[in-house]
């Protein structure tokens, strides 16, 4: 049997805060199969970003097991395309140069990196901006560029931490559809953090719902909507039922 893209088994993590230990994650189990789009929802401050840091190899768990492509032993940094909440484009690099940042880290020759970045920008409708600096772009465009940077660094496994959280509703919807298109074209496995239940339903194959801190997996919900998805599906009965159900679950967890 092929090993899953990501396997998280019984992962726990605590931080020291002053003299007392603060438990963030309690025995998390999670799995992302190859090509799957998984969403992760939880109340704010529940430790979703900590889980991401663990998966991206920026921190190590106290206990439990993390494996990308079934590899438990080696370092996880560089094995996933990690996209933080802010686009974090480098203002001194053009859009094209920002997209190929990950290839610079890998010492890919500039000419080849440039070609790949150009091809990707072309394919996803951003070629016109290739030579511009990030300062001239709108918020939605910057997020798209950041996503392409993530994809070019690691096209097979994307860790997206609330990428569209700061965008207005309309821009967000257009970015979501764009992401779905991208996901299908590059056949990536995606783990997507969000606050937004509707966003999770629109995008994901499966949704993991986390509890308030310390975070446990409360529920795993299958999203049985046909693909390719459209915003209209959110207004149909199955999506609405799921939305109500998940909202109720999350509201109970919201402490404030």
């Amino acid at each position: 049997m092929q090993s899953p893209k990501l396997l998280v088994q019984g992962v726990s993590k605590s931080f020291c805060q002053g003299r007392q230990a603060l438990e963030i994650l309690r025995s998390i189990d999670l799995e992302v199969a190859t090509g799957e789009f998984i969403a992760l929802i939880g109340p704010s401050g529940c430790g979703k970003s900590t889980l991401f840091n663990l998966i991206a190899g920026l921190e190590q768990p106290d206990s439990g097991l993390l494996a990308i492509d079934g590899d438990v032993e080696h370092q996880r940094t560089g094995k996933a395309g990690y996209m933080p909440q802010q686009p974090l484009l480098l203002p001194w690099r053009t859009i094209e140069e920002n997209v190929l940042l990950g290839l610079d880290v890998r010492h890919v020759p500039r000419q080849r990196a440039r070609e790949q970045a150009r091809e990707l920008l072309q394919r996803f409708g951003l070629a016109d901006f290739a030579e511009q600096y990030p300062a001239t772009l709108s918020g939605g465009m910057r997020q798209r560029v950041a996503l392409l940077r993530t994809v070019l660094f690691h096209p097979h496994f994307l860790l997206l931490d609330e990428p569209f959280g700061a965008l207005d509703a309309l821009t967000r919807l257009s970015c979501q559809m764009w992401l779905l298109d991208l996901w299908q074209q590059v056949a990536a496995s995606v783990l997507f953090i969000t606050h937004d239940v509707r966003e999770a339903i629109l995008l994901a194959d499966r949704i993991y719902i986390l509890s308030a801190r310390p975070a446990r997996v409360l529920r795993v919900a299958e999203v049985e909507l046909e693909r390719p998805r459209s915003a209209a599906q959110l207004a149909e009965a199955p999506a609405l039922r799921l939305e109500q159900e998940l909202m109720a679950l999350l509201l109970k967890e919201q402490t404030v």
Partner: protein
Amino acid sequence: MKLRWLANYGPAFVLALALAAIWEVAAQANLNLAQSLPSPSAVVQAFVLNWVAIYDNTIPTLMETVLGLLIATVLGLLLAIVLDLSFWTRRAIYPWLIISQTIPIVALAPLMLIWFGFTITPKIVVVMLYCFFPIAVATADGLASAEPDLLKLLKSMGASRWQTLWLVRLPGALPSFFSGLRIAATYSVTGAIAGEFVGAEHGLGIYMLTATNSHALPVVFAAIVMTALLSLALFGLVNVMEHLTLPWYHASRADLLPGRQPRH
């Protein structure tokens, strides 16, 4: 473009002209004053009459300044990177950097003369001592101000410490570096003059000193004007270099700078 230039520099120019006019009238009216404070026209006259001598003495001063500034830039950058290497290097070096600036550099100049003789070297060292500090401190601050999330992103890509420095932190510190370099450039000519005051064969500093000793006050002022022009030229050169190196920085900030007139 031309209008903008006029709007930027016109007011200062008009003010200078007005002050010079008042000075001129006062000096013409009162001859006693003219003996201790030469009128602008006398200074201009001295400048023209002594142009060859002033020019001959400007060249060595300029050499000392530029060489000292170059060495200070390299040294300042290296120091900034070393400061930034770890918590401990910063703790060990930073206090000494500050203490080095409490020493009156002018007092060191005679020592330099003893150590290095009547050559160009002691002047270069004095310029360097004046200039490395603003460059080192500004660049170190720039390096320290890198966005933590950006560093996290680079780490997630598996970037090494040097890659992070080269790809993210150094380019991000360049605007700060240029701020430091601008300050250093304005100090640098003063440093060269101070170095020459102690003892030199050529240079604007020693030229001024000789002119003062022979009570040729207009000539002293003419040399001071030349010094100021030199400083302004270096300052301008740094600005031009910054614009060429950081086109993105000015493009993204053009509308944010305070005190700039709206474009309507």
